[in-house]
């Protein structure tokens, strides 16, 4: 059991490295192949989740692949929330200097 978990973690780690490498610009020549491997790893994670005895602490954990859905939507939410905040918060890099009248 422990060995399977270690292997699974390693596979996840490799997926993480692959993602970093495959999405760089200019794209690496093996991009499509790498992304296919990455997609396969994602599928493994979700499928493994279906065979696991989850401790049901909160009712929503009953949903299969709850954490996969949650992680995905949380990340999308964060990026879109940041897009909204991007309208409000950013200023030029010398904003405070200009306000202080130090930059002509």
């Amino acid at each position: 059991m422990e060995l399977i978990l270690v292997l699974l973690s390693l596979v996840g780690f490799i997926g993480y490295i692959i993602l970093n490498y495959a999405t760089k610009e200019p794209s690496p020549p093996q991009r499509d192949m790498l992304l296919a491997v990455y997609g396969f790893i994602l599928i493994i994670m979700v499928v493994v989740g279906l065979f696991i005895q989850w401790p049901i602490e909160f009712s929503w954990q009953d949903v299969s692949a709850f954490y996969a859905i949650y992680g995905f939507s949380a990340c999308i939410f964060l990026i879109y929330a940041a897009k909204v905040l991007r309208i409000l918060l950013p200023r030029d890099e010398d904003y405070y200097e200009k306000k202080g009248g130090r930059v002509e």
């Binding site: 059991m1 422990e2 399977i4 978990l5 270690v6 699974l8 973690s9 390693l10 996840g12 780690f13 997926g15 993480y16 490295i17 993602l19 970093n20 490498y21 999405t23 760089k24 610009e25 200019p26 990455y38 790893i41 994602l42 994670m45 979700v46 493994v48 989740g49 696991i52 005895q53 989850w54 401790p55 602490e57 909160f58 954490y67 996969a68 949650y70 992680g71 995905f72 939507s73 949380a74 990340c75 999308i76 964060l78 990026i79 929330a81 940041a82 897009k83 905040l85 991007r86 409000l88 918060l89 950013p90 200023r91 030029d92 890099e93 904003y95 405070y96 306000k99 202080g100 009248g101």
Partner: protein
């Protein structure tokens, strides 16, 4: 072992002799004080470690007895990680020529150890304040105009926090008659205000929003090595004092949860990668505060062990981005990318730090953060649990993916810097080793935690839970970045909670430089002439200015006297 030597004092005294050495000798000498302090702390463990707090180094002061060395499980753990981290940190900064920078860094680390081993509130306050000043000096060594003003803003925040803390401590001592620093808790009646003031003083140093703005403002302005030191001591010593003084204090749960979520948005927006790391530092301290607030044995173990792991991986991340800054001269996401080819080691270390902070299974964050999250499950705090998991996905997005991706992969910047020199690689290597070691073998860490650990992070459901959460979050990132929906990095800064204060300060400076100086000049021009005519002196211009100023001062005092006098009569008539 009956003799006890204060490890903080080893660092502080060691710092005094740094300027006596030059070149290779200095590099050899610099390693001595941190190693001696580490050995000192480790020997404490074998010699006198027990259930009964060991107290040493008592000193009479104003009728009280100061305790400089209180060693129990909690202070030992923080003392160990502070002294353990100082060794790779000083190795990482061996190439720096400036003796004063090394001195301020060592004194800073020494004072943090002073805070940790302080057994009473007066000693605590003493080290707390010197730590603020030493850390300001660390920031000032950044050497730029920006670093200078950021350091000033930093010290203003910390003086405000320090005075609040001092007021709280004085009232607390007056109330209880004791200076001992133990659980302070939430008083009622006349004990409420001192607890509140001490609490505010503590959470300001921990960087709880909205009192956090000093952190992302100042930390990225320090030198490459300075910001690594800064990322470790101030916030984690605040975590220590909160764990001792306010364990199980309800509002900390919510403050901590908000603290984990709030900075994520900024970290996503921010362009300067050292600022991204500063915001993710606040987010990680949020997990610790949440654990302290929940207050069960499991959550407190989680909080302090997370502090332990955090110091290592956050230091590692600051080191790797610092190496990029050191080699390329910039840490801005817009200017970086594609460095993995020429900086492979730094890239590898950064990835280790990134997966550790994201709590990837088999890396250090995983075995510690899950205790806090598990404690929120056991405490049936559904909303807190959801927020912490959101923050976990967020950490992975900004510190786990964004930082390594934009620096080492992403869009090729055309920069071809080399890996930094041996000492920096060595410093990062030691940190990376501990990240992986704690992740694979958490037992040694679990054994020195304040409470007995009955927790196994490597259960099937837990490993799969984290892997699903993280990998699917990375999938979201991938979808958005390949489809071009991911917002591109901008060369901008972002307004934070210090915005009204900074604008008010700028207006105040305008008032001083504009109307007030104008008035003073007018006074000088007119009153000085009268005064000079009246006086027998005043041949030279400097004398006239001097006399003018004196006259003005006298007039000012007279006017003030008049106002006070009139006010007094008006009230009492």
């Amino acid at each position: 072992m009956t003799e006890w030597m204060h490890p903080g004092l080893i660092l502080i005294i060691g710092a005094l002799f740094v300027p006596l050495f030059k070149g290779r000798w200095k590099q050899a000498y610099l390693i001595l004080p941190p190693v001696a302090a580490l050995i000192d702390v480790v020997l404490m463990y074998t010699g006198i470690f027990g259930d009964i707090p060991f107290s040493a180094w008592r000193l009479p002061f104003l009728g009280y007895e100061l305790v400089f060395g209180r060693v129990d499980k909690l202070s030992f753990l923080f003392g160990l990680i502070f002294s353990l981290a100082t060794v790779p940190l000083i190795i990482y900064s061996l190439h720096v020529k400036s003796s004063s920078e090394h001195m301020s860094q060592l004194v800073y680390a020494g004072c943090a150890l002073g805070v940790v081993f302080a057994g009473d509130l007066i000693t605590l306050y003493f080290f707390w304040e010197i730590m603020s000043i030493a850390s300001m000096l660390v920031i000032w060594h950044g050497g730029t105009e920006k670093a200078h003003s950021a350091g000033l803003r930093y010290i203003i925040w910390h003086i405000a926090g320090g005075i609040t803390l001092l007021a709280g401590i004085v009232m607390y001592i007056a109330n209880t008659g004791s200076i001992a620093f133990d659980a302070i808790g939430w008083g009622s009646g006349s004990a409420l205000l001192p607890s509140l003031l001490i609490f505010i003083g503590f959470i300001l140093n921990a960087g709880v929003p909205p009192l956090h703005a000093w952190l992302p403002d100042a930390y990225p302005e320090a030198t490459v090595t300075g910001s690594v030191f800064l990322s470790i001591f101030t916030t984690k010593s605040a975590v220590y004092v909160l764990a001792r003084g306010f364990a199980g204090f309800g509002p900390l749960v919510w403050l901590g949860a908000i603290m984990t979520v709030y900075p994520i948005f900024y970290a996503v927006l921010e362009n300067d990668l050292r600022k991204v790391l500063s915001y993710s530092l606040i987010n990680q301290v949020g997990f610790m505060l949440c654990g302290i607030g929940i207050g069960t044995a499991l959550s407190l173990n989680g909080a302090v062990s997370h502090a332990f792991a955090h110091i290592i991986y956050k230091g590692l991340l600051f080191m790797s981005i610092g190496s990029v800054l050191y080699r390329t001269g910039t840490a801005k996401a817009t200017d970086l990318g594609g460095l993995y080819k020429t900086m492979p080691l730094t890239c590898a270390f950064c990835l280790v730090g990134a997966v550790s902070i994201s709590a990837f299974p088999m890396f250090s964050g995983f075995v510690t953060k899950s205790m806090v999250i598990q404690a929120s499950v056991i405490g049936e705090m559904a909303l807190i649990y959801v927020l912490l998991q959101l923050a976990s996905a967020g950490v992975f997005h900004h510190a786990g993916i964004k930082v390594p991706f934009f620096a080492f992969f992403g869009h090729d910047s055309g920069l071809r810097p080399k890996d930094p020199q041996l000492n920096m690689i060595l410093g990062m290597g030691i940190m990376a080793f501990f990240c992986i070691f704690i992740g694979l073998y958490p037992q040694p860490l679990y054994q020195i935690l304040p409470y007995p650990v009955n927790f196994d992070p490597f259960t099937a459901s837990h490993v799969v839970e984290v892997l699903q959460l993280l990998l699917l979050a990375s999938f979201a990132f991938f979808l958005l970045i390949t489809s071009g929906l991911y917002p591109p990095e901008q060369k901008k800064i972002n307004l934070d909670t210090d915005w009204p204060l900074r604008i008010a300060a700028l207006k105040f400076r305008w008032f001083i430089e504009g109307p007030l100086v104008g008035f003073a000049t007018w006074m000088n021009d007119h009153v000085t002439r009268i005064a000079a005519d009246l006086s027998a002196y005043g041949e030279e211009r400097e004398e006239r200015v001097f006399i003018g100023a004196s006259v003005m001062l006298a007039l000012l005092f007279l006017a003030m006297y008049l106002i006070v006098e009139l006010f007094y009569r008006w009230i009492f008539s």
